[in-house]
């Protein structure tokens, strides 16, 4: 195992199984720190992490902030509406101004796909993509894989169902890449209006073929893991979907559908949950749900990411 061979973390698409495993293994080590009396190690003392969140998010931002602080780094939060024409200052100008203050890492969340990649080419700090539009959310996929591995002991060979609005989901994309690369068999399911074209091509050369279904029952049948995605309220009532009742009736995870999966299947959700829409409260609060585990692993995974990126030069000095 060598130091992480990437300068930034923009997505899981280009991470190898080795990269992913290194991150997961490190995440396990950092989980421990949350159990200590003093939940802090001095490793990133003197390093600066800027959380540039141009799309609203409390939980992910808090998770990154806690991760940075537990490593003794200085964490600074900057929120705002998406840049450019609204404020007058472009994303690049905002980033360059921050870069001039020499942060070590910029964690960026943005409403538009490609924003993190754009930044990574133009500033000298390391960039962590905390979600760029519908494109990728790599730390979410990592903490999801970490949670699955902890409960199932492995990822290879598992049947994983990802259900919901695939078209607009960066969580789905990042998980499809990561899980497939680590040997899982992924199936996606959702109403046809929320399934984009070209899904099977996403995993070409990565691993097991991707199953695509326009009803969730075939995806859930025999699954080891069920990952439910959040349906955004704004999409309901448009041409994409009639209403929440129809959605929960035909595409929601309830006890009856859950019974189609393996008896020891785990239920996951990136949060925040729409109770009664994509997931019934009885399932969300039930024994098979591991949603809170995901959150606690989120901090540990983000610590692992910051540790590897803020840790100076990759490879030999």
């Amino acid at each position: 195992m060598s130091l992480f061979p990437h300068r930034h973390l923009l997505g899981t698409e280009t991470l190898t199984a080795e990269d992913l495993t290194m991150l997961l293994d490190l995440g396990e080590r950092f989980l421990e720190i949350a159990q200590r009396p003093i939940k802090k190690v001095p490793t990133l003392r003197g390093k600066t992490v800027i959380n540039l969140f141009l799309e609203p998010s409390t939980r992910t931002r808090t998770s990154f902030e806690i991760a940075a602080k537990r490593l003794s780094a200085d964490a600074i939060n900057i929120s705002g509406a998406a840049s450019s024409t609204v404020k007058g200052e472009t994303l690049l100008d905002t980033a360059r101004n921050l870069d001039a203050m020499a942060p070590d890492v910029v964690v960026l969340r943005h409403a538009q796909a490609g924003a993190a990649e754009m930044l990574a080419g133009r500033i000298s700090a390391r960039v962590v993509n905390a979600g760029d539009g519908a494109h990728e959310h790599p730390t979410q996929a990592l903490l999801d894989c970490s949670t699955i591995r902890a409960h199932k002991g492995r990822l290879a060979g598992l049947e994983v169902a990802i259900c919901g609005d695939i078209t607009h989901s960066r969580v789905a994309r990042s998980n499809i890449f990561a899980l497939t690369a680590l040997g899982a068999h992924v199936r996606v399911a959702g109403p046809r209006t929320l399934l984009p074209p070209g899904l099977p091509e996403m995993v070409e050369g990565l691993g097991a073929p991707l199953g695509v279904h326009d009803r969730i029952e075939p995806a859930i049948e025999g699954a080891d893991v069920i990952m439910m995605l959040r349906i955004q309220k704004e999409r309901i009532g448009t041409g994409l979907f009639p209403n929440t009742r129809e959605y929960s009736r035909y595409f929601g995870l309830n006890d009856r559908r859950l019974a189609l999966a393996k008896p020891d299947a785990i239920v996951m959700h990136p949060g925040p949950i729409n109770r009664g829409v994509e997931i019934e409260p009885s399932v969300a609060d039930g024994p098979q749900a591991v949603i809170l585990d995901q959150v606690s692993r989120g901090v540990a995974i983000r610590m692992a990411v910051l540790y590897l990126l803020a840790g100076g030069e990759t490879g030999e000095n």
């Binding site: 450019s84 994303l91 943005h110 796909a113 539009g133 519908a134 494109h135 990728e136 070209g198 091509e201």
Partner: protein, 431 residues
């Protein structure tokens, strides 16, 4: 000054000519062609040695955005026509989506006046179909015709309303103007920045399906059948659109269309890493579409190559992909990209010259496109194998938004002659 273009390969498909010889130009018109004519010219005639080059009728671009009036920071008539001349074009058709749009004779006259003063090549204005390009009511098409417009278009935008489109076609027919439609059903494209397909899915970018273009092509063809007016599809980009145009021609309908050099050479892969220089409308599509476009160009379904030269500054392009403006410059890279199609055997040199000169002239009924005696001396000399690298410093356009920056290209215009005057010449021909 009189000119003698000596020793080139003269390709004039309109007159079935492809032979080596000397071309004479006197008082701004073609005076004659033949082998060895150079020997007999007077001392005041300037002889230009073009051995190894092609000599063709001046290239005509049916689709250029000169940005003047209103957006001169991106391009203006002076810089745009200089870029055209450097690209080998002797004439450009200027699209009306300026500020203010070209929907009145006043703007048409302004454009023509500016072109007469600072234009390096001929400028033919294209007038608006609807007032303000809003797609609600007809512009003063008769007056636009009289003022000098050679076609009408709302380019940049489609005419969404079928009833208005029908009336525009009928009305344009009276004034014998071709109607150029930017085919895009806005409800289907819905703001998508890329072609709907695996590349956009992977990139997480909101995309538009090819059907947004072809559904409107299909609708418009029915309206052409209804009205009998001349109709031209701008920048065709999808296999389905090509099929529909092929079928329309088979039905004998007056439908023509054009394709851009970038749609012939790039796929949506060029956008995979959010390169805004590759963001255009219609978007770059998949390999199957590119193949269909090439085949359409070869079999004549696609009549012409037109650049859709769309200059934008860094303010519009150096931003997030979904926010960036659509379009790329193309006047100075069109020729090498088009010549690639000859090199791969898709087109013969004569076919290429037709698509870039005689056919555009025919569609808009413009002078030019042939090198017959007495014709205006609009001539392009091309070195088809000249190797050069596309770099920002070499562009004459005011803008730099091209996905071909840094690429090694082959072929360029070495001389561009408009009305017998040198609009552009390479270093070695400058006095």
């Amino acid at each position: 000054m009189d000119l003698c273009i000596r020793g080139g390969r003269v390709i004039d498909p309109a007159r079935n000519l492809d032979a080596e010889g000397d071309l004479l130009i006197e008082k701004g018109v073609i005076a004659g062609f033949g082998a060895g004519l150079a020997a007999g010219v007077s001392k005041s005639t300037r002889v230009l040695d073009v051995r190894g080059s092609w000599v063709v009728p001046g290239l005509i671009d049916l689709h250029t955005h000169l940005r003047e009036p209103g957006q001169e920071y991106k391009e203006d008539i002076a810089t745009g026509t200089r870029a055209a001349a450097a690209g080998g074009f002797t004439a450009v058709c200027a699209m009306p989506n300026t500020l203010p749009p070209n929907d009145t004779r006043a703007v048409t006259e302004l454009i023509l006046r500016r072109a007469a003063t600072v234009g390096a090549v001929r400028v033919y204005p294209v007038g608006a179909i609807s007032k303000g390009l809003k797609g609600e009511s007809l512009a003063e098409i008769g007056e636009l015709r009289e003022a000098g417009c050679v076609a009408i278009s709302d380019d940049g935008r489609p005419v969404m309303n079928a009833e208005l489109m029908r009336r525009a076609l009928e009305y344009a027919r009276t004034f014998d103007l071709p109607l150029v439609q930017h085919c895009e059903d806005l409800t289907l494209s819905d703001g998508g920045s890329m072609n709907e397909g695996p590349v956009a899915t992977r990139a997480g970018i909101k995309a538009q399906p090819a059907a947004a273009e072809s559904s409107m092509v299909a609708r418009d063809i029915e309206l052409v059948a209804l009205t009998g007016a001349r109709y031209h599809v701008a920048h065709v980009s999808s296999a389905e659109s090509v099929r529909l145009v092929r079928e329309a021609k088979r039905r004998g309908l007056p439908v023509t269309c054009e394709v851009t050099p970038h749609h012939l050479s790039l796929t949506d892969q060029a956008c995979a890493h959010y390169d805004t220089a590759a963001k255009c409308n219609p978007p770059l599509r998949g390999a199957a579409d590119v193949d269909a476009l090439r085949e359409g160009l070869r079999d004549g379904t696609i009549d012409a190559i037109a650049t859709d030269h769309a200059p934008h500054s860094s303010v519009e392009k150096d931003v997030e992909f979904e926010q960036a403006a659509f379009g790329m410059i193309g006047l100075e890279t069109a020729l090498p990209l088009a010549l690639d199609l000859v090199r791969t055997g898709l087109l013969t040199p004569a076919m290429l010259v037709t698509r870039l000169s005689a056919a555009p002239a025919g569609i808009f009924r413009l002078p030019g496109g042939r090198l017959g005696e007495g014709q205006p001396a609009d001539v392009t000399v091309i070195d088809p194998e000249a190797a050069w690298t596309c770099d920002a410093k070499s562009f004459l356009s005011r803008s730099r938004n091209s996905p071909f920056l840094g690429r090694a290209l082959r072929g360029r215009a070495t001389l561009t002659i408009v009305g017998g005057k040198l609009a552009f010449s390479e270093e070695r021909y400058r006095e």
